[in-house]
């Protein structure tokens, strides 16, 4: 097989994991833009989404579409609920208090799933039914195609929603100036809830894609993608929606290519090294300055 084909396949690997990072990073960046907090429990919403899919499929024997909807619904309700119970009472508290609460919620979710499902990884078959395709010697797996299509649709519709709808304008207004938005008659609480709902629904989709890719569930499965996506959000400029998408995809590509052509051991160091470099040169992240796009 030609070296060129190999490089192209590694690029596709990078795009696939990168688009999942982007999907998760959107949740971090939207919540940061609007509530000015880092929601560290976001990674664990992915885990809940993955387990919800498993419960829907293996325990309630729902059809795949039903299980996907169930998973998205559970995560949306959970995300909004967490905001109401854990973050809303602290809205005027110090940022540090909110941050620690978020870490607490993260541990709570992990421990609950440990208690309910145990620590042994649970196998769960993919719901993606079709085999991959082969173009000129390059094979692309079914799950890769599905991941790329689903994430593109999600990102495109989110961009449309934020820029073209009334609710989207409300979200942009709240992220710009909470007080002024309230004076203009925007319901800030509702808008924040909506942001958490969208972010958590995207996390659920990421969780479902994760299960289809790795076909195994454990209580800590959201931790690593969560951290990587957070890095992606910071890389792209936290608070910026296109920044999160760009950051996620760049991160996925760097990770895949450095693993393949430099060193597996060093790939994480390279990823974080590039983050440090970007932040040194451009402290607000790659697209962090475009305030108009803030959510």
């Amino acid at each position: 097989m030609g070296i060129l084909q190999n490089i192209l396949e590694q690029v596709i690997n990078g795009l696939r994991s990168g688009s999942i990072y982007a999907l998760i990073a959107l949740g971090y960046t939207m919540v940061y833009g609007i509530a000015k907090m880092i929601n560290f429990a976001h990674g664990d919403i992915i885990m809940v989404g993955a387990y919800a899919l498993y419960v829907g499929l293996a325990i309630f024997h729902l059809p795949a579409v039903g299980a996907v909807l169930l998973s998205i619904a559970i995560c949306t309700i959970l995300g909004v609920g967490i905001e109401r119970i854990a973050y809303k009472p602290l809205r005027s508290a110090q940022p540090l208090a909110v941050l620690i609460t978020a870490i607490g919620v993260s541990f709570l979710l992990q421990s609950l799933s440990l208690l309910i499902f145990g620590a042994t990884p649970i196998p769960q078959a993919s719901i993606v039914g079709f085999d991959g395709i082969k173009i000129g010697g390059i094979s692309i797996s079914g799950i890769t195609i599905v991941t790329l299509i689903v994430t593109t649709i999600c990102m495109a519709s989110l961009t449309w929603f934020i820029n073209k709808t009334k609710l989207g304008s409300a979200m942009r207004a709240v992220s710009e100036d909470k007080g002024a938005a309230e004076l203009m008659g925007i319901d800030v609480n509702k808008t924040i809830s909506l942001t958490f709902a969208i972010g958590s629904a995207l996390a659920a989709i990421a969780g479902i894609l994760y299960v289809c890719q790795y076909q195994s569930l454990k209580p800590t499965l959201g931790a690593m993608p969560g951290i990587k996506a957070f890095v992606a959000a910071v890389l792209g400029g936290i608070g910026s929606v296109p920044g999160a998408m760009l950051g996620g995809i760049i991160l996925g590509l760097i990770e895949s290519l450095s693993k393949a052509y430099i060193s597996t051991e060093l790939s994480d160091a390279i990823v974080f090294g590039i983050l440090v470099l970007v932040l040194l040169i451009k402290p607000s992240g790659l697209l962090g300055k475009i305030r108009k796009e803030k959510v």
Binding site: M1, I3, Q5, N6, E9, Q10, N13, R16, S17, L115, P121, P123, Q124, A125, S126, G132, K134, S139, S141, G142, I143, T144, Q213, Y214, Q215, S216, L221, M224, E255, S256, K259, A260, T264, E265
Partner: protein, 392 residues
């Protein structure tokens, strides 16, 4: 929140109750086990030979110790029922005394001392590497014959009174290299291994050295430290002209590797180390491991193991694993050494160890070198039609 607390409290209470119950039952098990053994002993013969055992019966690694103990109990029962062991002109009955060390070094020392006070003649132990290392020097001072069923670290057998029944990590790598190159005529082999794990690295390094010696080529050795994404490594392997993939890793990682390989339409055959045992329960699609071959000391589906498996299942309601087979074979090794030495003197038993040949569940014609390592043929298990089968 109140409800959550209540649920947590209930859960905690349940766990505690369960823990204390299992604690009790395993204790009474040990007692009743040794009582009945000594009962038969005094009834039918003149003397009893005491085999001490040390391994985790509680704690995280409990399943290993329990398996060894139960396997050894089956062997002791079989031998005693068949009339005991002929030692010179006497016939002796065997007795197994097994102590729990929770896989910790300090408890292993306590267990060793308890067993010595209880008149232990030989030691079947320890089950775990750390405990083995904690007692090897004590066993040397007492000059007692020690046989570890499953401790795989090289330093365990440094003293001349210590022998090992299981494969060492390097031996697994060498055996697999010989199988793949000499028996199956592969020339180019790719490797994927976990470089944060001693076992995986140890097997890989020995494998690579042996492959080079036999004239084969490692096309690429892809490492990983952690995580479940192997797409990059597998894509790299796909880019080489490898004819087969060797993956000396545990079954959880192996399940990810084979699933993702199938996604990338890699059709190369997989080969694994003994860590692959259990993979069929972990993969979601058994077709992804079809045709994979791995090394194992013991295969419960084998004809020669049928009696043992039936007895074991009858006694303990579960299928024996390789640790149970190690425990069983350990007792038969002692029997053979006793028959060879014709005395129960430790020094004579130790020198008899290098002269015996034992047909066991984990290998036929097992013999021991003076350095304490076993010489036995490996078993290759191949996955055929979604089942484990003995590879030819």
């Amino acid at each position: 929140m109140k409800k959550v607390k209540k649920i947590m409290a209930l859960g905690l209470a349940a766990t505690l109750t369960f823990a204390s119950m299992t604690g009790c039952s395993s204790k009474s098990d040990t007692n009743s086990g040794s009582n009945s053994d000594s009962g038969t002993a005094s009834g039918t013969s003149d003397e009893t030979f005491v085999i001490g055992g040390i391994g985790p019966l509680t704690g995280d690694a409990a399943s290993y110790g329990i398996s060894v103990k139960q396997g050894a109990e089956i062997a002791v029962k079989e031998i005693n029922e068949a009339g005991g062991v002929k030692v010179g002109d006497k016939t002796m009955q065997l007795e197994l005394k097994f102590e729990d060390d929770q896989a910790t070094a300090d408890k292993a020392v306590t267990a060793y001392n308890t067993l010595m006070d209880g008149g232990m003649n030989v030691l079947l132990g320890c089950v775990t590497t750390g405990s083995c290392l904690a007692v090897v020097d004590l066993a040397k001072e007492d000059n007692i014959l020690m046989l570890t069923p499953s401790g795989s670290a090289a330093e365990i057998t440094k003293n001349d009174n210590v022998f090992r029944l299981c494969f060492t990590d390097p031996l697994q790598g060498e055996t697999m290299a010989e199988h793949m190159i000499t028996d199956l005529h592969y020339k180019n082999i790719a490797v994927i291994y976990k470089n944060s794990d001693e076992y995986s690295t140890g097997v890989y390094e020995a494998f690579a050295a042996k492959v080079a010696e036999l004239g084969g080529t490692i096309t690429t050795a892809e490492a990983f430290a952690d995580g479940e994404d192997f797409n990059t490594q597998l894509t790299s392997i796909k880019g080489t002209d490898a004819e087969a993939i060797f993956a000396p890793i545990y079954y959880n990682d192996a399940a990810h590797v084979v699933t993702q390989a199938a996604d990338l339409s890699i059709t190369l055959p997989f080969f694994g180390s003994d860590g692959w045992d259990g993979i069929l329960d972990t993969v979601t699609d058994k077709a992804t491991v079809e045709g994979a071959t791995f090394l194992s000391p013991f295969f419960s589906g084998e004809e020669t193991a049928a009696d043992f498996v039936a007895n074991y299942e009858k006694a303990y309601n579960t299928t024996p694993d390789q640790f149970a087979a190690d425990g069983y074979d350990g007792v038969y090794v002692f029997k053979s050494a006793l028959e060879q030495a014709k005395t129960t003197e430790s020094a004579d038993l130790i020198s008899a160890m290098t002269q015996i040949k034992v047909d066991g569940l984990t290998g036929t014609g097992i013999s021991f070198s003076a350095t304490g390592e076993p010489q036995k043929a490996a078993k290759f298990i191949k996955i055929e039609n979604g089942e484990y089968a003995a590879a030819k």
